[in-house]
């Protein structure tokens, strides 16, 4: 396996969460199940109510994708931040591999993890909508909803490389000698994400226009990843 492959495997296996601090009491697993059960029960009650009431229109529900983009940033930031909070940054940066490989492994791992998370969110949403539509006796709408959902999944996933690279750069900037430009990059980056989300969610774009925006975002992604490598090579302080 190539160096990048091994690094990617390592990143993929790492826990996304912060390592438990010594002395901190862990929430017993049984309570996690209890709370998860309560949340699922509330969702089922809500879906049953909507289905019983009828006339539910799943039009604006896709606006949740706006929030999804910010969730993706969080995953990327966490993936970098974890090296510092878990005190493994010395091992990570001392690895005898190009900084490009280190960043690529983190980027791809974040993207894969995010694709998985997003797919689970969408599956949950489909289950919810399908249940409501079946209760309403509107089963014929299900295929259309499924297609719309898949389209949104593809769009959000296509925009995710930009968002994840922005998260990666932001997390590194905060730990570098270039920290003063962090608010600028963060502010501009968030503005762009909001603008793109508004454009995709609130205006009727043609497929061609969508593709152009996505391609532009990929070009910016490459620039941001190059910046991340430069930060690791020259400016990150541990």
């Amino acid at each position: 396996m190539s160096n990048l492959g091994v690094l990617l495997q390592h990143e993929w296996k790492l826990k996304a969460k912060r390592r438990e601090k010594r002395g901190k009491i862990k929430m017993p697993r049984v309570w996690l199940y209890v709370y998860s059960g309560i949340v699922v029960a509330l969702v089922v009650i809500l879906a049953t109510y909507l289905g019983w009431k009828g006339q539910t229109r799943f039009v604006q529900i896709w606006n949740f994708n706006w929030g999804m983009l910010f969730w993706a940033i969080g995953i990327a930031v966490q993936n970098i931040k974890r090296e510092w909070s878990n005190e493994t940054v010395g091992w990570w940066l001392a690895l005898p591999y190009s900084r490009g490989n280190l960043i690529s492994a983190k980027f791809i791992a974040s993207l894969l993890r995010w694709a998985k998370t997003l797919a689970l969110v969408y599956l949950g949403l489909f289950a919810f909508m399908t249940y409501v539509m079946l209760l309403e006796g509107d089963g014929a709408k299900i295929p259309d909803t499924l297609v719309t959902g898949v389209e949104w999944y593809v769009i959000v996933l296509s925009l995710s490389p930009f968002v994840i690279s922005l998260g990666t750069v932001s997390a590194l900037l905060r730990r570098s000698t270039l920290q003063p430009i962090f608010p600028l990059i963060w502010g501009v980056g968030n503005l762009i994400i909001n603008a793109v989300a508004a454009l995709f969610l609130l205006t009727p774009l043609t497929l061609g226009t969508k593709c152009i925006f996505i391609l532009i975002s990929w070009v910016i992604t490459l620039g941001l990843l190059r910046l991340a490598v430069h930060l690791l090579e020259r400016h990150v302080v541990i």
């Binding site: 790492l14 878990n86 005898p96």
Partner: protein
């Protein structure tokens, strides 16, 4: 005389307005166990990070094993960072596998032998280990590598006496058979000073004193006393 393993010429390093190393000059001889000693904040860890290319100097020249520091050079160096932890989701076996996959010169068989000798159960998860067990594992990750330079930054900090003794025994056993250069920074000077062939005492970002360990001891008493004097403004040096 062999080429020095590490050579710094007029190196300056600052973090913001704080000067960490100032006109720092040092030549580390090869195939020795070298003690890098000094009070807290004297610049020892920063010195190590510069060797690894993890931080960049403001100016000056650095040569490590004849090359500029950086990731391209790090396949020749085993580095135990200061205040480091290991990946919590690994088992000892997983850590050794990781070393075999990612660390050039890592000898998995030797790592397993060392783990057994240091009384670490190979199926144990890192996040269930005591700090001493984790410190022993991290030392194994460095000592199991066949590389010309090993850097151990505070390998004994915050660990229990039993683990410290185990680590010290491993080091003594290791340094007698190896041909590597080993740089060790530690505050546990009393226990470690017997390991050193030569010593560099760093204070306020500069090398305040250096030489063969035995000569320094004969001239100034124990290393511990020397560092204590340094911590109190260098009186009597």
């Amino acid at each position: 005389m062999k080429d020095p393993v590490v050579q710094f010429r007029d190196v300056n390093l600052s973090y913001g307005s704080r000067m960490v190393l100032q006109d720092f000059n040092i030549e580390i001889p090869s195939q020795q166990v070298v003690g890098i000693l000094g009070p807290n904040g004297s610049g020892k860890s920063s010195f190590f990070r510069l060797i690894m290319g993890l931080n960049q100097p403001d100016d000056g020249e650095i040569a490590v094993l004849g090359h500029s520091p950086g990731w391209r050079n790090n396949h020749q160096i085993a580095y135990l960072p200061d205040r480091a932890r290991w990946y919590g989701n690994h088992t000892v076996e997983g850590a050794i596998q990781w070393g075999g996959d990612l660390l050039p010169g890592f000898d998995s068989m030797k790592a397993k032998e060392l783990a057994e000798w240091m009384e670490i159960d190979s199926s144990m998860r890192i996040d269930e280990m005591s700090k001493g067990q984790e410190a022993r594992l991290m030392l194994i990750m460095c000592l199991a590598r066949k590389v010309p330079l090993i850097i151990l930054d505070e390998p004994f900090t915050g660990i229990d006496t039993h683990s410290r003794e185990r680590i010290m025994d491993a080091l003594i056993d290791y340094v007698t058979e190896g041909e590597q250069t080993i740089l060790i920074s530690t505050h546990e000077i009393y226990e470690a000073e017997g390991l050193f062939d030569s010593v560099f005492l760093i204070n306020e970002g500069q090398v305040a004193l250096s030489g063969e360990a035995e000569l320094l001891r004969a001239e100034h008493g124990s290393m511990m006393q020397l560092v204590k004097k340094m911590s109190h403004g260098g009186r009597g040096l």
